[in-house]
Symmetry: C2
């Protein structure tokens, strides 16, 4: 038997929920679910990478506690976050005759979590939702906070809802099956929490990152601190009217790079975009005389050490010119009345929301970093 | 110039909003919008019945107050409440580069309001939304309360979100262009507010319904009382956990009849389904010894007087057998753990939520009313 998992509570009034973090949680998922939810019907949504590894174990577990479950297996990959796949998922959930106490379960990474959460959020104007994130990125980021959605030809995550899960089960063992590249991509978000407002955590990561990659207690610790960090921000600002925007550190540049590479995961995955984006955000902060250039160098150095890309020229293939990247930034969500909102920093772990960044400065910075 | 419109305030904390009710409100829409919203870009969604009548006036008005607007015209009819039409509406809104203070405007009846509200609710996880309802049904029902959505092959309104508008403009003049059949269908919902908990209003309608149909002050009064009634219920129970379910009086039977006629508006429109459903709910209440049979007779008599259908055998074409209607009821939203929730009544204007109605009783009642 495994020890009790760690629990992080996301405090959101009558929508509060627990994140359980620890080894072996897929094996004990059904028991943990049955302890907390009354429902006896569930719909499990997963993808064709995750299904062969964990779907049978989950379905058998659910059956063993008397929960009648159906499942749907979607193609793995970012392109699945589309109306094309959302529609049959909604129909699967409706076909399973999920009632008010029943739940929809997302078994997979961020793509499956975002898509399934969106479907759960709109079926019957909101159905119960359980996340079983199987990637590091999903465990420390997308499974906390209730953001769900799909992509549009106009940009990433532009269509979706806020829909909080009822329970999150983060099994840290499953991360052993991730490719090093995928683990590193998730690690970018872990480092982000240090860079937002936890310089001590960033320093701990600089010393302990190899243990986090190896597994065991350091990994559980890093996942738990990350979930707690995100939970704290979300509890203070559920709908992203203010401080929640800090979580977008590195994301405005990152999203633009993802758009510029047409969400082609062979060239750039989300966490890699965030890694480059965080370095750019620190360099831009230094250029704006907000922070010492040493901070940007220290961030770049650590991310490089773990094997993450830290500059645009590491992205395989040709990037569009700076003007096109700028256009993608302007179409991003963080725009008010034509002015640009960026997350910048005053030092290590001193990020802040800057809502009056001149577009001209960003464009000339991009041109400098990425000459045509 | 017209007099100031009546205002009904929907009290929902930081999501409170005004419903303006009166003549000439489409002509003054842009002024009313500019008074209340800072946004300078809007996307107007309408249908091919409404567009020739009011779209130019609205667009010209918006231009005259400096609001840049795009528009999309959808086919009129219930079938438009589908993913097929939702997707291009989302893309239109995104293409218009609507920012946080801008808004999406629904110009049309319930179908346009429900679909557009859903699109506004999911674009950027929630965009500002203005309703300009052009049918009586939309003015007194769907434009108040924030329910949005589309239909699924599994049933009506099964996919959607709660998304409150920022402003509702109910122009009572536009109701003059409705067909008598469409006006009557909306009137069924007006009568419903009396039957829920306002016996005096129902009595007033019995005496004044002809004036309401004719237009003028009686119509404004009926629309305002209806909006206020719905606003009061919604303010007390936004997410339909309790008393809001009272608004479904007549709707469980009504939705089953709409499903049984494949949402074919030539056979049955929503308000007609509600009319028959309200009569059935009163008859069933009497059969369960909850209310006197005289109440059901009085309700039937008034609805018949205004020209609404009051029994299943008035629906043109063949209805499926009672068992199939029962199946549609069981798939409706108001189901908990297999038990049926119905809105029943103890007398005129004394509706209540009954959450333990035996399915067997409903089925034998349906067989009695609709022998195979």
């Amino acid at each position: 038997m495994t020890a009790s998992p760690r629990t992080v509570r996301v405090e959101l009034g009558d929508r509060s929920y627990d994140i359980l973090i620890g080894p072996g949680l897929i094996a004990s998922a059904a028991t943990e679910i049955a302890k907390r939810l009354k429902g006896r019907r569930m719909a499990v949504i997963t993808d064709n990478n995750v299904a062969p590894l964990y779907l049978d174990a989950l379905m058998d577990g659910l059956a063993s506690v008397g929960i009648e479950a159906v499942s749907a297996i979607l193609p793995a990959g970012e392109k699945t976050k589309s109306f094309e796949h959302l529609i049959p998922v909604c129909e699967t959930i409706l076909g399973a005759r999920i009632e008010r106490n029943d739940a929809v379960i997302a078994l997979g990474g961020g793509v499956i979590g975002d898509l399934t959460g969106f479907a759960a959020g709109i079926v019957r104007r909101g159905s119960r939702f359980i996340q079983i994130p199987t990637s590091l990125l999903a465990q420390v980021d997308s499974s906390v906070g209730g953001k769900t959605g799909i992509n549009s030809p106009h940009g990433k995550n532009l269509i979706g809802v806020f829909h909080q899960p009822d329970l999150v089960l983060a099994d840290t063992d499953v991360l052993d099956t991730l490719s090093p590249r995928e683990f590193r991509a998730g690690y970018a978000e872990v480092a982000k929490y240090g860079l937002i407002d936890k310089p001590d955590f960033f320093e701990w990561l600089e010393k302990n990152w190899q243990a986090v990659f190896a597994g065991g207690d350091a990994r559980i610790e890093a996942v738990a601190i990350s979930c707690q960090a995100k939970a704290d921000v979300v509890a203070a600002d559920e709908r992203e009217n203010g401080q929640r925007a800090l979580l977008n550190l590195g994301h405005t540049f990152g999203h633009a790079l993802e758009a510029a590479t047409a969400y082609d995961g062979t060239r750039l995955v989300h966490g890699e975009g965030v890694s480059i984006g965080m370095v750019l955000a620190h360099q831009f902060s230094s250029r704006m005389n907000l922070a010492s250039p040493d901070v940007a160098k220290r961030v770049e150095s650590h991310l490089k050490t773990v094997g993450l890309p830290t500059s645009m020229d590491e992205i395989p293939g040709t990037l569009p010119p700076a003007e096109v990247l700028m256009d993608a930034i302007a179409q991003d969500k963080k725009v008010k009345g034509g002015k640009l909102t960026f997350i910048l920093t005053r030092g290590l772990g001193e990020a802040f929301v800057a809502d009056d960044v001149p577009a001209s400065e960003v464009l000339s910075f991009l041109k400098e970093k990425h000459p045509a």
